[in-house]
Every structure is written in structure tokens, then in C-alpha cells.
Amino acid sequence: MRFIFKIILIAGLSYLFELFLPWWSVVIAAFLVNLWMPSKGFVDFLSGFLGVGLLWLIYAWLIDSDTASVLSARIAQLFNMPNASFMIAITGLVGGIAGGFAALSGSQFRRIFIKDEPKRGYYS
């Protein structure tokens, strides 16, 4: 639940930031959310990856279907991609990677100042 909540929070904050700020505001969004709610290692990364990545993917997909892929098909060709769907996927991927690393940095920054919690769970 916490993980899903984080994804939604990152996506929501990214969306808000994007209304007023350039693209890199998603990096800040993912960073801030993880600063506030750090989790562990790969899970952090994944929260930023999915939060920003899905936001970009879905928004790109919406524009693409609204505009009958006229532009995305041309840009796909420009990037030597087979079709517009690849442009949607790449958009999600690039947003995801940026969001993922930002999220990782956010929680790691936080972890400098908090003590390690006692290890939970069975996978430690």
C-alpha cells in the first residue's frame, strides 16, 4: 500500500510541478517524496521509476490517441523506431529512469540522518 501510495504521490506531485516548471521538475518531485517517505534500495528506485514513468507514458499515450499519431509516427521515424508506440514507451522509460535515480537519491539522502531501523522481514 505504502509503495502504491508513493507512486501516486510522485506522479501527482510531478504532474503539479509540470504545470509550472520544466521537465526536470519531475526529478525534484521524485526526490522530495522519497526524502519524506524513504523505503529501501530497489523499492525506492522503482517508486520513482513507476511514478514518473507511468505519468509520462499515460500522458503521451493520451496525446497520441487524441492526435491519431500524426506527429509521434514521424518522430518515431526520426529516431529510427518502428512506430509511434515505441515513442510512447521510450517517453515512459526516460521519465522512469530520471525519476528512479532521483527517488533513490532522495531516500538515501534521508537515510544519512536516520538510524537504521531494526531489520524487518525474512529476506534480510
Binding site: 509520462w56 509521434s72 521515424q77 526520426l78 517517453t91 526516460v94 533513490l104 538515501q108 537515510r111
Partner: protein
């Protein structure tokens, strides 16, 4: 450890964010570019264009409404002229900002700023042509007139109002791909655009090539191979026209050709030799409606975004519709309630070269008569993207810029003593803008004539028709009065004897009003018959389209718009009609292989129309090319710039001088005859076409073989369109070759209310992400037209208005 972990991921994050924000080589900044909220996705448009229906603009004095019809053609209604031009600039920028700015960068030699070092030599050439210098001259002249100043400044204010409110997400896609931003629009940019057109349309000349040819051939042979007038030419102005004036006498100097001890190895690139156009008008006596009709189709490079943009402009005193050049105010080709006008290129040798005798290598002074004259040095500062600033000093003589010298071109082979200065009317101050201003408002023939007085360069044949019943043609431009052959070859720049002495007075320029034959027409042929009192020369006069048009117009009666459409789309190949029978007759049929015989039969049965679904036009074109190259193989001289004789001269020689020495092939020891090279070129053609078929995996139907295409200005393939199935070709009325052709087809029927039909290869929007980027292309290639909506006033309730935009002034309280 935690700190190290953090630092590691933090550095990666920062590095990644930076890397995704900057352009790396040709890859746009990926994060910025792909971001669906601001990046390229924001350039994707729907069928109903978004845009604020009402908009406050600080620059306006009164409200302006813009009605967009179903073709996305804006109809601008303003309450005063200044607002009209402001909104024209605004609307233009809204649809074509990147294109209009890019073209002015091309003219100014500033492409390196955008795409980097690979454009450097191109930029240097543009600057040595002096286009920016010419634009500055024109700008000065225009800004001295109130009318010029008002138009230029209003237009610039409109463009800037749009630029100033542009955020990254709204930038045209090309700016995002190349990662740069538009700069402010200035009146100079409009002047640059007009000089860009002047270069495209009057930049061609062959003085240096002719000089080489003369050296190579001798004068007698040169005159035989490069006649200044073809036998069966039909001039623009009918030969029956009497000239009621005499030219002032000119003394031909004794020594006219500069001494060049060696061949000239470097010349300027020529504009596309097919740049031309068709226009014609017929009198009411020949039309079904009893009113005159007019047609025009300018032939230019087929690019996207298209060179033209359709628009209606309305303000007190003006109501005009037609096409505008993105970057310049007014309508360039079009009509109003009372008149219609159109243009074709009026070729004339208006660019001459002078060999300068410098006193020393510093190029500071040169000999002229018995004096030494000082040169002016213009330092050109070329800023290269992501790199250095390159300074190039261009030396100006009183003739004009010295294009070639020891530092240009960079890879020059033979440059030590060279100093060729260019004298060219396009570099002079001129005020074409005023001509269009007055044409837009002209009501009758007298006002059309009055308007043309402001027009100098590039020279054009202005066709005219009026609702009052007049038709006319005026060959307008700034033409030097020359003695015979002045400027045909490189001239000696050390004596005033060889200078241009005067300009032909405006009212001596060739013109005709209501000729007896009931029509006027031009298609880039020679303007006048021998009886015209001035010397007229150009080496590129067109020889086929014009005669086909005249033949058809001569026969037409009860003309309706459909007849004009058919004529604009006419694919009859007159050149083939005048050369193919000879080629086929010369062929020895008995010696043909089975395969060759089949090809021969195709040609034999051909009706001479260059239609897309025929194979014969492909065969003829290829065969002609091969034959032509075999005949003129003598001209393939390594590195020496020289031109081959033109098509009509070649056909004349094949017909009347089949034993000419040049028929023989150089590389062989035997003496070839015409039948032998006809045979050889035919076999070669059949082989090549079969190879073409295998390579392309399709039949060589004319449409496939010709492959007419619209290329994006940056040559980006996905933004271009190829394989357009459109008939016609070079020397054909429907002049559509591979990447060149009918850039705007317009037909106007005058009457109480003018009716017009038009189409162009492209669309109103310059955005590849808009459905209006190419929405007229399929109609254009299939020869169909759109009726134009010409609104009487803004209250006219017109079907087909897609949406309206109201622009209103910002009131003081809102500021």
C-alpha cells in the same frame, strides 16, 4: 557508507538530468524533448486547431477579427492598416514561425549558428553574394518612406507579439529538435527574405561559364552552339507590338572581354534552372462568362513547409486575397474585387562579373581608368554553433562584392590572381514592398501600372486582368541598358567603358494591353521580338511550355474555369514531340534485341503525354539524357566550369547538322555518326531502366520513376513526402519534376464578385504534427482545386468558417 551511497546516486541523478537537458551531437535533449507536458508531444495537434478564441495584444489600436475557413485560411478583418499588418505578422508566425526565421538565416548566411560547422562554407558563400548587404540597402530605402516603415514595423510587431508569449512547449518542433530559440523579428529580416527570393529567381548567370566556353570554342563556334535567340521563339509580348520609343544609342567598346589566361575553375552555384512559372489571362471575348479570367502557377522548389501561405486581408481601403510569402507583408499573388494579378520570372542577365586589377595582395586598392580606387572591407562575423566565431573579410568594389579571392572558396585550386567582382541589381536598394502594397489596392489598369513602378528585383512578368475587362502583361524589373553582348562574358573592371551606363526607363519596359489575340501569357520565354529597341539576353529562356500554352489558348473559346485547370495540369511533352520522331527514325530497328524492340514499341505508341501511369515518358527522359550526354561529351572537362548547349539547340543540331564534329565521341578512335550514338544511347537506356526496375522492385511508370517529392527544409525524411503521383515534368506546362514544380496553382474569374480556385503542395500549418501540414497535397497531385472563400466583409455569414479569433487591444487598466 551511507554518505557514499547517497553521493553516488545523487551524482548519477544530476548527471542524468543534465545529460537529458542538453543536445548531444544531433540528438535533441532527450528529457526535455520527450517530456509529454512540454516536449515534442505538445506539438501534436488535432483536426480542430486549439488556440485562444480571444486574445489581448498590447500592440493593437482596435479590435481585429480573424476567421479561419475550412482550409485553415485566415481572413483578417482590421479597422486600420497598421493593425492589419500587425495581425498578418502575428497569424503568419502562429503557423510558420520556424520556416520564416530559418529562411532569413539562409539569406543572411547564418545557418552555422543553428546547425554548426558543416554549414560554414555555405554561409560564407551567402555572405559573399552580398544578400545581407543588399537587404540593408533595401531596408534603408524602405524605412525612408512612411508606408514602408509602417508596414515593416507593424509586421515585425505582430511576429514579435507571438514570439514573446511563446513558451518552450509551444515552440515549433524544429526548434526543439535543433534545440534553439527564435530571436526577435526585425524589418531587416523581411528585407532578407525578399533578397532570398531575388537570389532564387535572378541569381542565375553564366558569364564565367561563357567565358570558359568562348576560350574553349572560339567566338564563331560559341555563337553557333549558344545562340542568343532560338528560331521559333514566341516572345512574351506578341511580335505585333509596335514600340513607340527609341533607345538611347550606346557605343560598343573595342575590347569587351577580360583577358583570362586560364580557365575559370570556380563559379557560383546556380539556382534551380527550372525556377519559372506560367501565367496567362484571357479577355472576356474568349470566356463563357464574358469576363476576363487569369491563371498563375509559380514553379519553385517543392518544400515543406510550403513556400506560400494563403490569406485574405481586409481593412478600410483594401480587401485582397491570395498568397503571401511567410516573412513579408501584403499579398504577393492574388486578386481583389476589381483586379487579379500573377507573376512569372522575367529572366534577363542582371548579374555581371568584372575582373578587378588590384594594386597589391592587400586588396585595398584597384585600378580604374587612370586612378586607383579604394575598396571597402566588410567583415562578416559567422558564429558557429558550439564553437568559434569565424571572421571573413569580403572586399567591396564600386561594382559590388568580390566573391572569389585567395581565401574563398576554402578548397580553391587556382586562386592567386583572381578577383572577380559581381554587379547585380538584386544588391541595390529597392522597394518591392510598396509595389505589392499598391497592387493589393489597385482597381484598374492604370493603378496596376502605377504600382509596378516600385518593383525592381527579381524581374517578373506581371499578368493582369480586371473586372472592367482589361487584360495586360508587363515585364517589370530593373534592367540595365546594354550594348550588344555586354556582360555575356567576364568583363575588364579597370575601365569605365565597360560599366552599365543606364537603366532602361520604366515606361520602356515591355508591356502589352488588350492584344488582338485576346490573351496574354508568359512562361519564362524571351520577353520580346527582335524589334524591341534594347538588347535583351539571358541564357535560360524557356522554349516549350510557353508555346504549348499559346497554342492551347489560341484555340480555346467559351472558356470556363475547368479549361484553365486542364491547361495548368496539361502534361503534353512538346519537347518530345519535336525530338522523339527524329530519334525513333534514326534507330536501326532490325538490330534491336527482343527486349529493346518492346521498349521501342512503347515509345512508338506513346501519345506524348507525361502521365504517371505511362512507361514511355520514363524511357524518353532517360534516352534523351543519355543521348544529350553522348553528343556533348566534349564538355565534360575536368574541373573547368562550362555549360552544355541547351535542349532546343541540341535538337536543332540533330535535325540540321547531323554531321557536326561534336557528334563524335571523344574517347574513341573511330568517328561516330548520329545514328550510332542514337543506337548506343538507346541500348544504354534499356539496360538502365531494367536495372532501375530491379533496384526499385517496381515498374518504371513515370510516376514511380520521376518520384515527385516534397522535402522538409531541413531534409528530414519523416517530415517530407515522397512518391507523389503527379504527372508532367521539365519543359511541360504541368512543370512538376522530382523536387520542383507548381508551388501554387490559382485561377480567378473576374466579375461582379470574383471567383477563385487554388491549391498548393502542402498545407497552411508548418507543423508536421498538424493535420493541416499537408492537407492540400492529395488534391494538388491529382489536379483538383479548392474554391477560395473570398469574404465581402466580416459580417458575411459564411459557411465553412471553422473558428474565429478575436484579437483586441490591451486597455491601459489591464496593463
Amino acid at each position: 557508507m551511507k554518505v557514499v551511497k547517497f553521493l553516488l546516486s545523487f551524482i548519477i541523478t544530476i548527471a542524468l538530468t543534465v545529460a537529458l537537458s542538453i543536445k548531444i551531437q544531433s540528438i535533441p535533449p532527450l528529457g526535455k524533448f520527450l517530456d509529454p507536458f512540454h516536449g515534442f508531444w505538445q506539438n501534436a495537434e488535432t483536426l480542430i486547431p486549439e488556440g485562444s478564441p480571444s486574445l489581448a495584444l498590447e500592440m493593437l489600436e482596435a479590435p481585429v477579427s480573424v476567421h479561419y475557413d475550412s482550409l485553415l485560411i485566415p481572413h483578417i478583418f482590421a479597422e486600420n492598416e497598421t493593425d492589419l499588418y500587425r495581425v498578418q505578422g502575428y497569424v503568419m508566425a502562429q503557423h510558420r514561425l520556424w520556416q520564416m526565421e530559418f529562411v532569413t538565416h539562409v539569406a543572411a548566411g547564418r545557418v552555422s549558428e543553428i546547425i554548426g560547422e558543416r554549414a560554414l562554407e555555405f554561409d560564407r558563400m551567402q555572405r559573399r553574394k552580398g544578400l545581407a548587404y543588399g537587404a540593408e540597402n533595401s531596408l534603408q530605402a524602405l524605412m525612408k518612406t512612411t508606408l514602408g516603415q509602417v508596414q515593416l514595423e507593424a509586421y515585425a510587431a505582430g511576429v514579435n507579439a507571438y514570439i514573446n508569449k511563446l513558451t518552450y512547449d509551444q515552440l515549433p518542433i524544429e526548434y526543439k529538435i535543433l534545440e534553439y530559440r527564435p530571436e526577435s523579428w526585425t524589418p531587416l529580416k523581411t528585407a532578407l527574405l525578399l533578397k532570398y527570393m531575388a537570389d532564387d529567381l535572378s541569381g542565375s548567370d553564366s558569364d564565367l561559364e561563357n567565358t570558359n566556353a568562348l576560350k574553349f570554342l572560339g567566338k564563331e563556334r560559341f555563337d553557333f552552339l549558344f545562340p542568343s535567340r532560338s528560331m521559333d521563339a514566341e516572345p512574351v509580348i506578341p511580335p505585333s507590338k509596335k514600340w513607340e520609343f527609341k533607345a538611347a544609342p550606346l557605343d560598343t567598346p573595342k575590347v569587351v572581354i577580360a583577358d583570362t589566361s586560364e580557365f575559370i575553375m570556380q563559379v557560383m552555384d546556380q539556382p534551380d534552372p527550372d525556377n519559372g512559372s506560367n501565367n496567362w489571362a484571357v479577355a472576356g471575348s474568349k470566356t463563357r462568362s464574358g469576363k476576363p479570367m487569369l491563371a498563375n502557377d509559380p514553379h519553385l522548389g517543392l518544400n515543406l513547409p510550403s513556400i506560400w501561405y494563403a490569406m485574405q486581408l481586409n481593412a478600410p481601403g483594401v480587401n485582397v486575397m491570395g498568397v503571401t510569402l511567410p516573412g513579408a507583408p501584403n499579398i504577393i499573388i492574388g486578386f481583389n474585387d476589381s483586379i487579379a494579378w500573377g507573376v512569372t520570372n522575367a529572366r534577363r542577365d542582371v548579374k555581371d562579373w568584372y575582373k578587378i586589377h588590384f594594386t597589391d595582395a592587400s586588396l585595398d586598392e584597384y585600378y580604374y581608368d587612370n586612378n586607383k580606387l579604394k575598396t571597402q572591407k566588410r567583415v562578416e562575423e559567422i558564429k558557429v554553433r558550439d564553437g568559434t566565431t569565424v571572421f571573413d573579410t569580403v572586399t567591396y568594389t564600386h561594382f559590388g562584392p568580390v566573391v572569389f579571392d585567395s581565401s574563398f572558396p576554402a578548397d580553391s585550386v587556382n586562386n592567386n590572381k583572381r578577383g572577380f567582382a559581381m554587379k547585380w541589381t538584386a544588391l541595390d536598394a529597392s522597394s518591392e514592398l510598396l509595389a505589392f502594397y499598391y497592387l493589393n489596392r489597385a482597381d484598374n489598369h492604370a493603378e496596376y501600372v502605377q504600382a509596378l513602378k516600385y518593383y525592381e528585383s527579381p524581374a517578373q512578368n506581371f499578368v493582369f486582368a480586371s473586372a472592367a475587362g482589361d487584360i495586360a502583361m508587363w515585364v517589370q524589373g530593373k534592367f540595365p541598358a546594354k550594348w550588344r553582348e555586354q556582360g555575356k562574358f567576364l568583363m575588364d573592371g579597370s575601365t569605365s567603358e565597360l560599366e552599365w551606363k543606364s537603366i532602361i526607363p520604366n515606361n520602356h519596359n515591355p508591356q502589352v494591353l488588350n492584344p488582338e489575340r485576346g490573351f496574354v501569357s508568359s512562361a519564362n520565354q524571351i520577353p520580346v521580338a527582335q524589334n524591341y529597341p534594347y538588347y535583351v539576353y539571358d541564357d535560360t529562356y524557356e522554349h516549350y511550355r510557353n508555346r504549348r500554352i499559346n497554342e492551347r489558348l489560341g484555340k480555346m473559346r467559351n472558356i470556363m474555369p475547368k479549361d484553365f485547370m486542364d491547361l495548368q495540369n496539361d502534361t503534353y511533352n512538346l519537347m518530345a514531340a519535336e525530338s522523339l520522331p527524329l530519334m525513333l527514325d534514326t534507330l536501326d530497328i532490325a538490330s534491336l534485341s527482343v527486349e529493346e524492340k518492346e521498349v521501342y514499341d512503347l515509345l512508338l505508341r506513346w501519345n506524348l503525354y507525361n502521365n504517371v501511369n505511362y512507361k514511355a515518358p520514363s524511357i524518353y527522359e532517360r534516352w534523351w539524357e543519355n543521348l544529350y550526354n553522348l553528343i556533348w561529351d566534349e564538355f565534360d572537362q575536368d574541373g573547368i566550369e562550362i555549360q552544355k548547349p541547351d535542349k532546343e539547340t541540341t535538337i536543332d543540331i540533330m535535325n540540321n547538322y547531323p554531321d557536326d564534329a561534336f557528334i563524335d565521341l571523344q574517347g574513341t578512335t573511330v568517328v561516330e555518326t548520329l545514328p550510332e550514338i542514337v543506337q548506343e544511347s538507346f541500348s544504354q537506356t534499356v539496360k538502365e531502366l531494367n536495372a532501375w526496375k530491379e533496384e526499385h522492385e517496381e515498374e518504371y511508370f513515370w510516376g514511380n520513376y520521376k518520384n515527385t517529392r516534397l522535402s522538409h527544409l531541413l531534409r528530414l525524411e519523416p517530415f517530407s513526402i515522397d512518391k507523389l503521383m503527379v504527372g508532367g515534368g521539365r519543359s511541360i506546362v504541368a512543370a512538376n519534376s522530382q523536387n520542383h514544380g507548381q508551388s501554387w496553382k490559382m485561377i480567378v474569374e473576374l466579375g461582379d464578385q470574383p471567383k477563385a480556385w487554388a491549391v498548393y503542395p502542402g498545407g497552411q500549418s508548418g507543423n508536421p504534427g498538424s493535420p493541416y501540414y499537408d492537407h492540400m497535397v492529395s488534391n494538388w497531385s491529382s489536379g483538383k482545386y479548392f474554391p477560395l472563400l473570398f469574404m465581402k466583409n466580416k459580417e458575411q455569414i459564411a459557411a465553412g468558417i471553422m473558428f474565429r479569433q478575436s484579437l483586441y487591444p490591451t486597455t491601459d487598466t489591464e496593463k
